[in-house]
Subunit: 152 residues, 2 copies
DNA sequence: GCAGTTATTGCGACTTGTTGCAATAAGTTG
DNA sequence: CAACTTATTGCAACAAGTCGCAATAACTGC
């Protein structure tokens, strides 16, 4: 387990409770699994397999519902990557929460903090949308794909 | 039909050919349908129903494959909206191609051009990602939801 | 316009994701 | 800590989306 993960886990449980959400076995487990793999984009398959194996059978629908809940709370961000389906990633206390996805090859990159700050700053002009827990996704063409097919 | 849509349709077919893609009946039809409803976010159900009704039975998988193709080429952008599932929207020659999605209530807004330009400008600093055909999606909390639940 | 090449289609089987509902258990109150 | 309230679960049926493969039909060049 990543050092400090235990603390984060407790923090997130507290956060859930502060949002009037109940802390249930499936939620504890799912949260722990996401935290233990916070550096990766998780596929639904590995999540479901883990949940099914750990719990005496966590139902598919509960897992989906909780992923949706966590996303709504800004704990994770789900994204569809061309070629590898939907992925779930921990973002809660991340400084940088934006992604570049190449529409052509499906490769994704995490952005750098400087750009994220600039985008946040640009958003200051837009009223009605919160900067807190903001995620930004860019869809475009990476340099490699643009080279191969200049029109794209 | 929207005035000028016919021209756009021809343009897009030409664009497809320029990309070495073949122009088939399902593609013509799907493209036309998307163009005729370019001001809305289409659900997969209405797309499939239309395709199935028009063609002597356009297969589900072909529709999905073509939607994916069109998205890769930057003709449409698909997005998952909480509460209403995945939606498909025409973006090809749009000046503004970014969306604000509220994680809490699922409401979405189109952004204004000024912000889009600023984000594009910020992207100039990032090498390796094309500005052409860029789409940007913001996930956050709208003012209304933020008011109801300040922590979000 | 015909033959050849190969992208695209349709099909079937499968995986992923959603929804309504009754049963359960988390949190709360006295 | 027992009773209460209601969010969450598991289940089952369904809808949405994916994949491999053989058949088809767009495009190319002659």
């Amino acid at each position: 387990m990543i050092p400090g993960a235990m603390k984060k886990h407790q923090d997130l449980l507290a956060f859930l409770r502060s949002q009037k959400m109940r802390v249930t076995p499936p939620r504890r487990l799912l949260l722990q699994f996401i935290l233990d793999h916070s550096n990766r984009r998780l596929s639904i398959r590995e999540i479901q397999e883990f949940m099914g194996a750990q719990l005496r059978k966590a139902d598919r629908s509960s897992v989906y519902r909780n992923l949706e809940t966590f996303e709504r709370l800004g704990i994770i961000q789900s994204l569809s990557f061309p070629g590898e389906g939907r992925r779930y990633q921990y973002v809660f206390d991340r400084k940088v929460r934006h992604f570049y996805i190449c529409r052509s090859c499906g490769k994704a990159n995490r952005g750098d903090e400087r750009l994220f700050r600039r985008v946040e700053a640009a958003l200051k002009d837009i009223h009605g949308f919160a900067k807190a827990n903001l995620s930004v996704v860019f869809y475009g063409a990476c340099s490699k794909c643009r080279k191969n097919s200049p029109t794209a």
